[in-house]
Symmetry: C2
Subunit: 475 residues, 2 copies
């Protein structure tokens, strides 16, 4: 019933709220809190902490895929940096992580026009054995096109998925395209294919293949799966379009090794009168291996640590506890955030508000949320505090990132300063994910947006209510 009346209530509340603002009588935040928000915002715009953190993480640790030496080094780095920044209750929370080793991969067109193309194995994919796999190629656009082929069409063949993802600001193009990476191998194997090659889930015209995790199911044998860059996928498509038979060869020495122990790294700015209510700030410490994880997710790590550092330096203490959680192993199945959820099961409802930064280095262009609809006026007030950053006002369908998915499903409200993803998929999961992709100014603007919203989220005079509507599927 409440849902049916929502537009009426929301309209009423917005009107009341606007009136309150006009009269300069904010009801949800004290003048001191709003003033502190302004200070935070302005300080953040001049603060170099976040950039320095990404620089340090990428230079001193670099690639840090789950189970690797870099993974261990990243945990040590995060502990050291959180302590240096003066966070309280700095600690680790163990997580078991898969340990997949990339090895080397090769991809060649043997005919009609012999060419080798740079390639990356998809994360979790099986190897080909020493002699590789050779076979006739079949080009299909996507899973639907594969399913529409006549029976036997890909039996003993290598399937090339040619679909190109669409560039969008909010990442919607990724959600549509990535299903081929996740499920293409099993779908093709179920029809008898021996291997797959996908056009990278990428918006770039540069010759970087993109990796990323696949998901085998028990529905079919595990077959090797590689990705090639957009320009190579174009060139391969032209070979198919020549009308001549296309013969392919691929090799990969990828393999699974025994699972390892890694850890989430946690630090806090303790709250005061509502200290048992947690505002959680999530990002992930692991990265893919070909790059150094600057935008995925060094920037997110730096933003979350930077926010807590700025708030700590304020004279005022936050009412609620601000907890930064740098999750282990987001990329390979989110076992880090699952471990967090399991360890905090009893206190899940104490997580009253969540923020996650896992979509690059900014700028922030929009404020979205997923709050109980009755509290949208609070979000509107926070939005007004962000006015100098010139954001758009998003909807209440924020999905959050992968690591807060579990808490979100349990009803935790989410505030989402949305990072601009227009160019994110040019770089993510490639060797090109380096510090050069981080624009210091965009990062500072993002820091300002997060710091302001986190602070006000921690100071809200009411109680953040649980969200009872179904959580939209995450991208």
């Amino acid at each position: 019933m409440l849902n049916l009346n929502y537009p009426f209530f929301a309209g009423l509340l917005l009107t009341l709220c606007a009136a309150a603002t006009a009269a300069e009588k904010p009801q949800n935040f004290t003048r001191a809190d709003l003033s502190a928000a302004s200070t935070l915002r302005e300080r953040a715009l001049a603060d170099t902490t976040a950039f320095a953190l990404v620089e340090s993480l990428t230079t001193e640790v670099g690639p840090r895929p789950a189970g690797s030496p870099g993974d261990k080094a990243a945990v040590a780095w995060a502990l050291r940096e959180m302590q240096r920044l003066g966070f309280a209750n700095v600690r680790t929370l163990e997580a078991v992580v898969p340990h997949w080793e990339r090895g080397e991969a090769e991809f060649q067109v043997l005919s009609p026009y012999p060419q080798a193309m740079p390639t990356l194995a998809l994360g979790g994919s099986v190897g080909t054995g020493q002699s590789g796999i050779e076979g006739d190629g079949v080009m299909v656009k996507d899973l639907d096109a594969l399913a529409a082929l006549p029976p036997g069409a890909v039996k003993d063949k290598i399937v090339f998925f040619s679909n190109r993802m669409e560039r969008t600001r909010d990442g919607a193009g990724y959600g549509k395209a990535v299903v081929v990476r996740a499920s293409g191998a099993t779908a093709a194997a179920a029809l008898g294919a021996t291997a797959i090659v996908i056009r990278s889930i990428s918006t770039s015209d540069s010759r970087f293949p993109h990796t990323g995790a696949l998901r085998y199911t028990n529905a079919a044998p595990r077959i090797p799966a590689l990705a090639i860059s957009n320009p190579d996928a174009d060139a391969l498509a032209r070979q198919f379009e020549s009308g001549q038979p296309v013969r392919l060869k691929l090799k990969s020495s990828s393999r699974d090794l025994p699972a390892m122990r890694s850890a989430n790294v946690i630090g806090e700015i303790p709250g005061t009168d509502r200290a048992d209510e947690i505002v959680i700030l999530g990002a992930h410490l692991d990265s893919w291996d070909p790059g150094v994880g600057a935008i995925d997710d060094g920037a997110g790590v730096a933003l979350m640590m930077g926010v807590a550092k700025l708030i700590r330096e304020l004279d005022l203490k936050p009412r609620r506890t601000i907890r930064v959680v740098l999750f282990a192993n987001e990329e390979f199945g989110t076992s880090g955030s699952q471990a967090y959820l399991a360890a905090n099961e009893a206190e899940a409802s104490h997580h009253v508000l969540g923020f996650e930064a896992d979509f690059g280095a900014g700028p922030v262009w929009r404020l979205s949320s997923r709050v109980n609809p009755q509290q949208l006026p609070v979000v509107d007030q926070i939005f007004r505090a962000l006015a100098p950053l010139k954001l758009q006002r998003g909807d209440n369908e924020a999905r959050g990132g992968a690591d807060l998915d579990g808490l979100g499903k349990l009803g935790m409200p989410i505030l989402s300063p949305d990072l601009d993803g227009t160019n994110y998929f040019d770089v993510h999961h490639t060797a090109n994910d380096t510090l050069a992709q981080v624009d210091p100014q965009a990062l500072r603007q993002s820091l300002a947006a997060f710091a302001t919203a986190v602070w006000l989220g921690a100071q809200y005079s009411g109680s953040w209510e649980r969200v009872t509507t179904a959580k939209p599927p995450r991208r």
Copy 2:
């Protein structure tokens, strides 16, 4: 003496020429020639031949470094395409080319912060042997900084050259920076270094190392030489700037193999009343191996072939013979153009005008020249025929490319529709040199500029005089 009087004569001629134009009485070109130039220019702006040729060359042949199977395939491709386009006297002219094999290369920082970085061996560099080379690193900016070190400073060490090239439209930044790639290994070896690593001669922030030829001399032992990308060079510089000792390791299986036979490929549009005068259109058929040679120099090949094809399709025949020469092995010492020069020694003076396209896929932004100063008014008239393309008027110090260097030194005039090189060094000599880097519209505009200038160069009513001033050093 003539040189001393040049400003006077040039001024006088410019004045006369301007007067002639004002009176619409061009003295150097017939109305029919100028009208044909307009037709050519307009047809070129709508012509897809050049793009189709780059697409075909990169798709069907791909990488074609000297001595490789791709080199041979490129010769066959060029013969086939010249015949298909209806050129006359299509033939090959043999050239001996070096055969260097890249093998595999690895580069790692061992301490203070262990990281592997993508690398490419410099062309012609020696390998390291199976166990690689490990040593302490010394960072210097450039050759001057190396020379200024105290004695013994790089003995048994690995030298890292950190200088970054400057982005310019005309490629001037390359000339300044590339000396480290050419001579760094020998300079460091002469001081006792065991290997060098250079920051790629590149303007890009993407993580592509750039290869390119080095030149060993007998002044010092041949030591391995690798290049890393700009973002990695920045990261390595930060490791040095940490103040801690930097330990490096590199491996390369590069090696020289016996020289091979390759060929220049030649085709013509025969002249009429001045058929024994040759207007030569040069580009190079070979490419570096990591990419598919779309901008270096597939685009040049396509432009030169496209120009001849457009002129052939005109009703009017050119007065002078237009000869397209696709040179073998520009990248590895220009043995193709040297073979051409040797074979044409007796007829060198018949080469009355040269054009070369070896600087990417356009657009053309300027018309430069290297003609006898008395003939600058002819260049001015050609420039006016290019007016709709909105070019700038360059100077008379055009250097031309590497393959016409020999003929230029013998006094052959050069007309240079200058290709815009602002982004050229983002891509050249990298794996990213693919068709995606070719903008079809810029290529058509370049085709229009070249076609117009070549046509008028072939129709000029006077005689192209030899250039007696010293040729400026090429970049």
